[in-house]
Symmetry: C2
Subunit: 132 residues, 2 copies
DNA sequence: AACTTATTTGCAACTTAGTTGCATTTTATG
DNA sequence: CATAAAATGCAACTAAGTTGCAAATAAGTT
């Protein structure tokens, strides 16, 4: 486990922003609903704070069947592809993309690139073992 | 332009399923709303037909800020990454992923892979030229 | 501390994508 | 034509996310 204090950006956070960052640090990746259930604050508060955390570049949104959120601190959690299980809709964080693969993918467009989201869909081992 | 009849799967389509496939063939990629506005049928009909077309493997869903749909016929439209403009939310279809890049990406997980969705986000040229 | 201002929150109302049940219409089949 | 199956429209619903506004909390000033 990484030390939460290693990420400079977290120092100035307050109130629900801090609570969310702390929870994401502990749990890895969570949906807005999961955050709300744990923190027991209004969903407007959750979404407003998620937005401001994204604007501050502290978290990022992972779009799947529903949206998930995870920390965006380089020390803790570099950008990586995700695996989405088509049976249970669970999201698995994969190991970060290599520099070579990142460059290769970025060659597919000439537009100005802001981020590269790779989502591999399939069946996770847990769900595969339940098939018959 | 490809000939619509080249894709075997389209032969047995009827009613709204056929209308949707025909429109996607012509326009490339459309949202459920865009389809509804053009075809002037109830949105339940749109979504029901989109679902059955996906189940028949004739179209695929492209998840962005909102969902888009495009043909899934190999002759017409092999699987490819997408560019999503963070300003105008427009979706651009990119050239298909090379076999090498596909294999490289598939190595990031050991789970059973069903599909690989690559979405590059950034600013399209049109929106970039409007900045100041 | 007391006063004032800015920030954060809860609540309720709203929007939008997508789903579902059910009655009606359309299409297929003998 | 008669009957069954499939497709559609309609309305009500769910779930994620947004927004206005008033109340509460925190921060800054004398
Ligand atoms: Mn992740
Ligand atoms: Mn496409
Ligand atoms: Zn699973
Ligand atoms: Zn754009």
């Amino acid at each position: 486990m990484y030390n939460f204090n290693m990420c400079e950006k977290f120092k100035n956070l307050k109130n629900t922003e801090y609570d969310i960052a702390l929870l994401l640090n502990k749990k890895g990746i969570l949906s807005a609903n999961e955050l709300q259930e744990i923190l027991k604050v209004d969903k407007a508060t959750i979404y407003r704070n998620l937005k401001s955390l994204i604007k501050k570049n502290i978290i990022r949104k992972v779009s799947a069947k529903k949206s998930f959120y995870e920390l965006n601190c380089n020390i803790h959690n570099p950008i990586h592809p995700h695996f989405e299980c088509i049976k249970c809709n669970k999201i698995y964080c994969l190991k970060p993309l290599s520099a070579e693969d990142t460059i290769n993918i970025s060659r597919y467009t000439n537009f100005e690139i802001h981020s590269i989201d790779i989502k591999i869909k399939g069946t996770c081992d847990e769900c595969k073992s339940m098939d018959n």
